[in-house]
């Protein structure tokens, strides 16, 4: 169906990009919680052993030490599975990073339901929600390899606390190489005058494929990659929302507190009464399965996303 090239896992692109950046910048310091293997950081540890700190399985300590290293003028990337990083050490993120204003880059690996079959202990479908309401913390979920590379490069010079999350499956190359990426500025991956699909992180490719299915039925969709959840690019979203007949948001996150509810809030507060549907993980005891199986089950396969759009168009 699609001739889009499949790239690498964003996780690998993150590790490769960070190693390249760290070779040029000795202040870059990686802190891991027994997570260098799962973070693809073994080469980093071998090539730059003086720029990696290992604290063992202790996420609270990971974040606190990262704040201290940042105070000592290190550019810190604190790397840990998103599930633990954003739950176990939430208070450290709030107090030691955000409130104390240390420009640490918190990297949540294997985010969302990347660890599908490992159960809810290993899922992070809460991270957008809990981090959105922490002041002074930006949140980024890159979709493809291009966005991941650019996000990591920009994170090096980012002057505020930052959280970046991504998964570990190979991602399609959504964007052309002349695309422009800036933290806080959404990317319009595809233009279409009928409907708006807005997605973030690894669900962007699903929204993009759904748009291709819709295209076959003469329904033309705009696809926004909202890679930055906070600060949210309200302007791009609202401009596109005002033109669309229906809007569907897609996210690998709870339907509570994430991309969808941010969109709903903006639509309501800007008097845009367009038919709108949030696709995400509902509030129920989660089914077991791979990331792909679970996303498909919760109506986030390209086919089900396109059907949701078609149904909304019929019933609007």
């Amino acid at each position: 169906m699609s001739d889009i090239k499949i790239g690498k896992p964003n996780l690998e692109v993150f590790a490769e990009t960070l190693l390249l950046e760290a070779k040029k910048n000795s202040s870059i310091t990686v802190v891991t919680s027994d997570s260098r293997g799962s973070g693809k950081l073994v080469p980093f540890g071998k090539e730059l052993p003086k720029q990696i700190v290992e604290v063992g399985i202790a996420e609270q300590n990971l974040v606190g030490i990262s704040a201290g290293l940042a105070a000592s003028r290190k550019k810190v990337f604190a790397v840990s599975p998103a599930s633990f990083l954003t739950a176990r050490s939430l208070e450290q993120i709030k107090a030691d990073i955000a409130y104390s204003n240390h420009p640490v880059c918190l990297v949540g690996i294997s985010a969302g339901i990347s660890y599908g079959q490992l159960g809810s202990t290993h899922h992070s479908i809460h991270d957008f929600a809990v981090l959105r309401c922490i002041n002074n913390l930006s949140i980024v979920a890159p979709s493809d390899n291009f966005e991941t590379t650019e996000a990591i490069k920009q994170a090096v010079d980012y002057q505020n606390p930052l959280y970046i999350r991504f998964g570990k499956k190979p991602m399609m190359d959504i964007h052309s190489h002349n695309a422009s990426f800036k933290i806080g500025k959404a990317i319009i991956a595809k233009k279409g005058e009928d409907v708006l699909l807005i997605a973030t992180g690894e669900t962007v490719q699903r929204a993009y494929l759904a748009a291709q299915i819709l295209e076959q039925n003469e329904i033309h969709a705009t696809v926004i990659s909202m890679h930055t959840i906070k600060p949210f690019d309200e302007e791009t979203f609202l401009n596109e929302a005002r033109k669309a007949k229906v809007i569907v948001s897609v996210e690998e996150h709870s339907i509570y507190g994430g991309l969808g509810e941010q969109c709903a809030s903006l639509l309501a507060q800007n008097k845009i009464n367009t038919c709108f549907k949030i696709l995400g993980i509902p509030d129920e005891y989660m089914i077991n399965g791979s990331q792909s199986d679970v996303l498909d089950h919760y109506n986030m396969s390209p086919e089900k996303i396109s059907k949701t759009v078609s149904d909304l168009l019929i019933n609007k």
Binding site: N61, G64, I65, G68, S72, Q92, S100, N101
Partner: protein
């Protein structure tokens, strides 16, 4: 600074702590009075931290993990010239930066604290950063004894030992009381020295409300190469004011006018005896 001068300062600091708590109507009286002698000796006799060098990282560092005893820290920083008495007296007022736990909005504060169990990890990160850059400065952190029940303290202790942070000096304000009661009844933390020894620390013990003892121990720390340092400073909660000492109620009690006047009278008399 001579011992007598530091002793005099400690009494004056106690007067200021009580004054700002009394005037603002809030504060952690007992803990501020128990740790004030430690802060006095650190800032006036041990650490290389001044308003002039504060913007540089090339100096000593201090993290107050037991953030609730902030009135003591604000008092000492004011005396060291970080801000005016007028600023200090804005404690707890609307839009004042001088709030009930340390914030970096206040000159001289290194890290925002208040949630307990955080300071040691941050201090470990700073000490490690100094080591990585081969800088010879020290990181001091003051912990409460009650906060040692936080698991993150022990996570940080393992890392301090792993990286052989002999530039890290952890001081425990061992006043033996927390908000509910005696630490050993609430959730025992003893044998404290044995625990930190087994975590790889070099241990010292001293009288935390005695200027001479504090100077003696702090001036000879770090004590062992490649080991982080732990000083158990045995203190009295509410130290220096007889009717406040060792009373749980004074954890965050604000003195009445009569109590304030009585405390001031007692401290003025103590000044005459220095």
């Amino acid at each position: 600074m001579k011992h007598k001068e530091l002793e005099r300062k400690s009494i004056e600091y106690r007067k200021t702590i009580l004054e700002i708590i009394y005037q603002s109507g809030a504060g952690h009286t007992g803990g501020s009075l128990s740790c004030i002698d430690i802060l006095n000796v650190l800032y006036n006799g041990v650490m290389n931290i001044t308003p002039e060098n504060f913007s540089s990282f090339d100096r000593d560092h201090f993290i107050q993990s037991k953030g609730h005893s902030v009135e003591a820290l604000y008092t000492v920083l004011q005396d060291c010239g970080f801000y005016s008495q007028k600023d200090l007296k804005s404690l707890n007022q609307f839009q004042s930066h001088f709030i009930g736990h340390p914030t970096r909005k206040v000159p001289g504060i290194e890290h925002n604290t208040g949630a307990l169990g955080h300071g040691l990890s941050v201090a470990v990160g700073m000490a490690l950063g100094l080591k990585m850059d081969k800088k010879e400065f020290r990181v001091f952190t003051l912990l409460g004894d009650g906060e040692l029940s936080e698991g993150s303290i022990w996570e940080a202790a393992t890392t301090a030992s792993k990286y052989q942070l002999d530039n890290l000096i952890v001081i425990i304000d061992r006043n033996k009381l927390q908000i509910t009661g005696n630490t050993e009844e609430v959730n025992p933390i003893e044998p404290l020295a044995d625990k930190f020894t087994s975590f790889g620390f070099s241990i010292s013990e001293t009288l935390g409300n005695d200027i001479s003892s504090l100077i003696e121990i702090l001036q000879k720390t770090p004590t062992e190469k490649n080991k982080p340092n732990l000083i158990i400073a045995n203190t009295v909660k509410g130290a220096g004011v007889s009717f406040i000492e060792n009373q749980i109620a004074w954890h965050h009690k604000v003195p009445s006018e009569a109590e304030y006047n009585m405390a001031m009278k007692e401290l003025d008399e103590a000044l005459l005896n220095v």
